[in-house]
Symmetry: C2
Subunit: 646 residues, 2 copies
């Protein structure tokens, strides 16, 4: 999409935005405040702007009279730029131009996933599954070798392949398939993990089908199951699909799922339910890609420890009981149909290993998929969801832990918290004088609640602007009706009921803020504890890898302001998206991951934070904005001091 | 059973027999002829003898008057010896004493199966499956290793076990089993075939169950399925059972079974049917031994190529079509429940490899189980059933072939042929002057037909006594009503209708004899061809191993007289019984068999006799009694010359 330049007046602030962007979103991106309460649905009528130059489009609004329209008045949220434009923010909705610069533009992490070309250049493109076309000599009266022996001999003599293993289901196909095209066949080989291991022949097809060799990569999340269909010939993702994990009906989090699994028949139910979801995902990506199922050779799977055990129908009872012991770290290759996957009988399922009960295969997949296991840089890997798992280290050593962050980042424990879905407040700005809000929702509709990234922005912005203090308490002296006491709890009104979808005021209160502080404190202190246990500090960290659906939306500056992330240069922060899915895909494309994952998993020293003596002190110290010791955040400290001086 | 001495008068011929033996059987064993037509049922009344000394028992018979009884008259077939006895054969049923010695006593092969002590002494007692008892340290707050990791580490540190593999079904059991007796468990290990391979943990049980570790060894025969329950701790066979293979309803021989398998659904039906039979056998031996199924760790299987493919549901279509190609030689270990065996989920099925379409796993099992693969002696191994498979060689080389012997030895193609079952004529003698027969049937009942070993004895005896000539044709000049022409075919009446169970005369005719000659000719010429292809002759053979249900009953001298076996000293002939079952049992007890069987199988050079140029000439030359070149049988030649001189 091409870019156009948008300039906000009177501040004379310009930024490039994609053609077609709404003026309200452009303002938020530029750090320019426009009052807006309805999330961008066009009902509150507060975000009036005047188009002074350039071309825009957008339907007329009841909130703008015909006369005003002629003068260039528009609602910022419902007006979209077509060319370079100059937009004036009218006096009633604009604040002193000099304070505009108080808010830095939103800065998210650089998105980086290892590309196919990159792994190819590094010689890592060796799919776990390979197809080889063979033209064998048919048997005759002088040569009646058994079919399988003929195949194995041909592979040895013509292809220098040794140590072949052929499972019974393949043997069953061989006699007829060999004779379909006169002993011209394509065999599918699964490479061994260890070089001393055997190569498995998992499929045989008549004729040359080498051009069609696919894998399914899948992330089995507590909330969502994502799948990708990957072309093993060229590494391309041909289709991707996600579905809510149908296990949600049996509990939102892993603990309630485990409790359900402990009931009679519960484990089998949960296993079948998640396989049902996975099969929907497979159906969708097979349909979308138009690939024939018989050419899918592999499914690679990553999930947290509980999800993995439920997927494999391995009793998860002891995951939730001290001393929190998972059943296994490493799982062998499994026939996909044995688990109920709607894939052909020859498909092998490879499952990522687990480190501990709360650092699971999704994290190991992230470490492998993000390339952390190959880097020399001291890396802090963070996957933030219901729990936040962190890994610190590089190719030589790793320490990891699960931080009991609680569900705040997914909307749990927050009055108006919700998942990142349509209607969730995802961005926020405040008029530093009137304290009137500017809200942006997912889907530009009237707000229903607050998602995790929105929560961080809201709290950071309130703190930056002195609306709340270091302890997350509201400044009782501010003269604004937006701050009020409700049942002995102070709150800030984000949107009044008439501007919401839920017919209630949407607010954020001190309990919500406290929950967020506990959550970010758990993550920060978890990282700090890991670092200090290995004799290091945040200063040594050379890069941060953020993972999880959440990570892409986090405003890094805001996350540092609240002390969720350590203060580092934003360019050191990489966002890799769903790293569990990435790791699953990478292990299909590069067999060296399978070869190294066991070593990496064994290398990952797990810390149970609750049993690590220094953790509690670190945690308590982190229950401030940004931290008890603000000296750890020199940039933030300077900014806050500058802001407060005004 | 204790022995007593029986002396026949007037010949004054003594032999030891078991106390309780019938006088008729004792006479047959001694080579003393007594006319007897009803097989030993006591109805023909011809086998009258006089007890002159000693004590016998037996019910009175209508055929012996009270007066005669007082004089010592008895029916030989219904009178059983209790002490040393002297028995006179009355003048009307006895022949000239001087010719009595014309018939040598029956001489069967020495039965020899490798004993448990023998394999133990040779260091070969290393069961493929072993149980190990472990007392692990339970997890605690400082040690939350995953259960499987704890197990693998314990095995490495405490038992020096490396390279462990744990399949998913075992992982599923581990969490609860570990906690049943506080991490005191017994694990079942399957040893790898190659030393570089991994040891599989296939089961885990709470507490110490090492004293209970069993295997099922099974021979999947075309006609019969035999199973043994073997104690892997001491090598003892705890129970044995055989059932007719229920596939018989779909065809008596492998060819008709293959044809059925080619029909839609046919293969699955045959697979399920044979598994049904196998499960009956398992049920019987489990019941008989009182063993708990959860302590059965292994099932070892041997069968011919067709039976193996049907058992494994591998399309057998190309076994019966030139160039006669089986699907596979080597099959991987298979989960027993995947095949439908009524065994626990952890049980592994090991299947003997095949050499070719007609030299199958039963023969390989025989070669392994009989110890042929370890001997330096040049050995001729023969398994005689519907087809006769022969293997020649020793530990350094082997050549094998299937001889199209046809079903004559199992009663096929013989007018009154039948399997070795109650009522089958199994032994035969002839009065060299009157040509009256002496018949012995299985079960001592009136005859219904002739079984394979009976057929050999009948033809050999007729030939020895000049009733038939070298070509198997009756001497038309003999003055006896027993020889007659019937529909242009000469025949000998073995039993008149009133002495049979079938209300018809039981005869043997020239067509029957011709079929037998073709069958024995196929075996002899097959062996000869194999030997000449490797530049050897029968003179080089140091031992003959006979296998198959049939082999135990074959009178070696008679088999040599008809030229079915080469002329060797009888003590060189060993009978090993059901060698397929023996091989299955041995592979459960000694893992070195599994380690070496692939090498042995690959070493077994298969000859398709029909495509070996020298075979046809050898075959034609063998279509005589004993052979065109009687010089190959010097002992027989001398005997015949002596007999004919009289």
């Amino acid at each position: 999409m091409s870019s156009v330049q948008i300039t906000f007046l009177p501040a004379n602030m310009s930024i490039p935005v994609p053609r077609g962007e709404s003026i309200l979103r452009a303002a938020m991106a530029a750090g320019v405040h426009i009052n807006a309460s309805c999330g961008g649905e066009g009902v509150c009528g507060k975000c009036r702007v005047i188009i002074e130059e350039g071309s825009v489009e957008g339907e007329p609004s009841e909130r703008i009279s015909a006369e005003e329209r002629v003068k260039g008045y528009r609602l910022a949220c419902k007006t979209f730029v077509r060319t370079d434009v100059k937009v004036r923010i009218p006096v009633e909705s604009v604040i002193d131009a000099s304070v505009l610069r108080r808010k830095s533009p939103r800065r998210t992490a650089t998105v980086h996933q290892i590309g196919f070309e990159e792994i190819k250049q590094q010689g890592l493109f060796v799919p776990a599954v390979e197809k080889v076309y063979l033209e064998m000599t048919p048997p005759n009266t002088q040569d009646h070798l058994p079919d399988v022996t003929r195949l194995v001999n041909h592979l040895r003599v013509e292809k220098n392949e040794h140590g072949m293993e052929v499972e019974l289901p393949v043997i069953r196909k061989i006699p007829s398939v060999f004779r379909e095209q006169d002993f011209k066949v394509t065999v599918t080989l699964v490479r061994p993990v260890r070089s001393s291991g055997k190569t498995q022949i998992i499929n045989v097809q008549a004729g040359d089908t080498t051009a069609h060799n696919y894998a399914v990569a899948m992330d089995i999340g507590t909330t969502t199951v994502y799948g990708q269909l990957v072309d093993l010939g060229c590494g391309r993702v041909m289709a991707e699909h996600g579905e809510f994990n149908a296990q949600i009906s049996y509990g939102e989090d892993v603990i309630t799922r485990i409790m359900h699994a402990e009931k009679p028949g519960g484990l089998n139910t949960l296993q079948q339910v998640v396989i049902g979801t996975a099969n929907k995902v497979i159906e969708a990506i097979v349909q979308e890609s138009g690939v024939s199922r018989e050419n899918i050779s592999l499914i690679t799977l990553a999930g947290n420890t509980t999800m993995t055990q439920l997927l494999l129908a391995v009793e998860p009872r002891y995951i939730r009981r001290s001393p929190y012991v998972p059943a296994a770290s490493i799982y062998p290759p499994i026939r996909a149909t044995d688990l109920g996957f709607a894939l052909d009988a020859h498909v092998t399922a490879l499952v990522y290993p687990q480190v501990s009960s709360y650092v699971g295969g999704d994290i190991v997949a992230g470490v492998m998929g993000s390339g952390m296991y190959r880097t020399e840089k001291l890396t802090l890997f963070m996957d933030i969801g219901t729990n936040a798992e962190v890994v610190i280290g590089n190719k030589d050593w790793m320490a990891c832990a699960a931080c009991s962050a609680g569900p705040a980042f997914e909307g749990g424990g927050i009055q108006f918290g919700m998942r990142a879905a349509k209607g969730a407040i995802e961005d926020f700005s405040i008029n530093p004088e009137s304290f009137e809000p500017m809200l942006m929702t997912i889907g530009n509709v009237r707000p229903k609640g607050i998602c995790g990234s929105g929560l961080i922005v809201i709290v950071a912005t309130l703190f930056e602007n002195g609306v709340i203090n270091h302890q997350g308490k509201f400044n009782r002296d501010l003269a604004t009706p937006r701050i009020r006491e409700n049942n002995n709890v102070y709150e800030y009104v984000l949107a009044h009921r008439e501007a919401t979808q839920i017919d209630r005021d949407i607010t954020i209160n001190e309990i919500d803020i406290d929950n967020l502080i506990r959550a970010k404190g758990a993550i920060y202190s978890g990282c700090m504890t890991l670092l200090s246990e290995v004799g290091m500090s945040f200063d040594d960290v050379e890069q941060i890898i953020l993972a999880g659906g959440f990570g892409s939306f986090v405003d890094l500056e805001r996350a540092m302001i609240i002390g969720m992330l350590p203060e580092v240069a934003p360019e050191k922060v990489i966002y890799v998206g769903n790293s569990s899915l990435l790791g699953a895909r990478m292990s299909a494309l590069t067999n060296s991951i399978r070869q190294q994952v066991v070593g990496v998993t064994n290398m990952m020293t797990n810390f149970e934070l609750s049993e690590t003596p220094s953790y509690y002190d670190n945690y308590v110290a982190a229950l401030f904005l940004p931290h008890t010791d603000v000296g750890r955040f020199p940039r933030i400290k300077a900014r806050l001091e500058e802001l407060r001086r005004r």
